[in-house]
Point group: C2
Chain length 280, copies 2
Amino acid sequence: MCELLGITATAPVDVSFSFSDFAQRGGRTGPHADGWGLALFHQGFARTFLDERPASSSPLATFLRDNPVETQLAVAHIRKKTRGESRLANTHPFVRVFGGRHLVFAHNGTLVHVRERPLARETPIGDTDSEHAFCWLLERLRDAFAGELPDDPDRLGRAVFDLANDLGSDGIFNVLISDGRFLFARCGDNLVHIVRRFPLGHATLADEELRVDYTQVLRGPGSVAVVATSPLTRDEEWVRATPGTLWVFHDGALVRTFEGLPEAAHVAATAWRPGAPSPT
Amino acid sequence: MCELLGITATAPVDVSFSFSDFAQRGGRTGPHADGWGLALFHQGFARTFLDERPASSSPLATFLRDNPVETQLAVAHIRKKTRGESRLANTHPFVRVFGGRHLVFAHNGTLVHVRERPLARETPIGDTDSEHAFCWLLERLRDAFAGELPDDPDRLGRAVFDLANDLGSDGIFNVLISDGRFLFARCGDNLVHIVRRFPLGHATLADEELRVDYTQVLRGPGSVAVVATSPLTRDEEWVRATPGTLWVFHDGALVRTFEGLPEAAHVAATAWRPGAPSPT
């Protein structure tokens, strides 16, 4: 098992706060001691930092804390290996190119039967069930959207929702997927989110007695949406997803929620704008 | 314009030596102040570090000097932009997946007409002529080798040689390409290499009055091959390529040399083994 963290904001933010807390779970307060990865989007390009060592003792994680990088969308993963050995090729997030953008994929859980799904064109580099699932998903998305991923959260969200439910039938499938515009977060068994608005105030980290000034995270009007497999802070209300839910985040807001079994699913479309109540 | 550096070794080596010298050219001793990139292979997986800032003042380059990563094959690039703005998506090396491996590509020069070559499936993320050339090359390689890149340096080397000569007709095409096994180095107008053998002794860096103990680079029998657009050291004999030459390096040795125009090219096959004279 492992933990997931996704962040999207109205404007570029310094993600070191949430990641430094999250990194404590990599070998120190959590059992997730088999490497970590962080993808930071700059428009359609994801700069990825990976380490096969625990995040809590990783010099690269320390470097990222001390030299924060601004980004509007980040996907992070801390790994406790279930299948596949500890090496860089097995470290999430996995990255591929789709229609002139990076697509990143970070998975929490185990998909027992996913290798029975044949791959025609995509080729995993490592030997995890997660990367196999990503390759399978990529082939379906390439079939559905020949040239490039659509800019429509209903159309793209519906496709990701259906494919994620399909993969979810193979096991536990908590997943974060992003193309740098949208952050898709699908709940297999554990997923929570919070939307923080400017001025952000203070919160207490769940793993350390450390208070952090949220105003340093977002320096102007707008919001930050944070999604994770468990709450990062103790004194805030995190929204918990029911299994099968797909949240679609964009520019710091939750913009769509897909719920239920594929045939009975409904879309909660939320016309969110800065200053409006939380779309949850 | 920009500079290229490739390193391949018999066993994993700490590449910080050559890179720290090379990094001086990024804004300090050279005019290459528009970002840099470094791809470090671990088997078929390339961990890539990129920065849009000059290497000589980059905290990430300093981190890599202070926290060296061992690798058997590295490709580095320092960029002085000719086309395309300074941003991460335009920073070499470019990376794609081919047959369960990363393929990396770093280019020095300008290919004036390369955008006239249509692309059917591959999609650049940035707007450089270099990434367009890489995508064109990838499509030709996917056509030639459907499932995966061959393990045969003659067959794969011949394909890369012919395609590189084709691209070279569009302008200046010094390039490093690697799949983690082979390092292909093609000379457009500037390319030199050296094969260093254990015990490696001392050498004087070209850019700084700094002597480095080569024995720290390779700690046992074997060799290190270094290829670059200009010599990194002043007191060693670097072999200079004639335009159109493709060198193929593998495990610290030069294993093939392709020279001449496509129709008249010949292959200098070298049965190199550790301890034998240099294959150059």
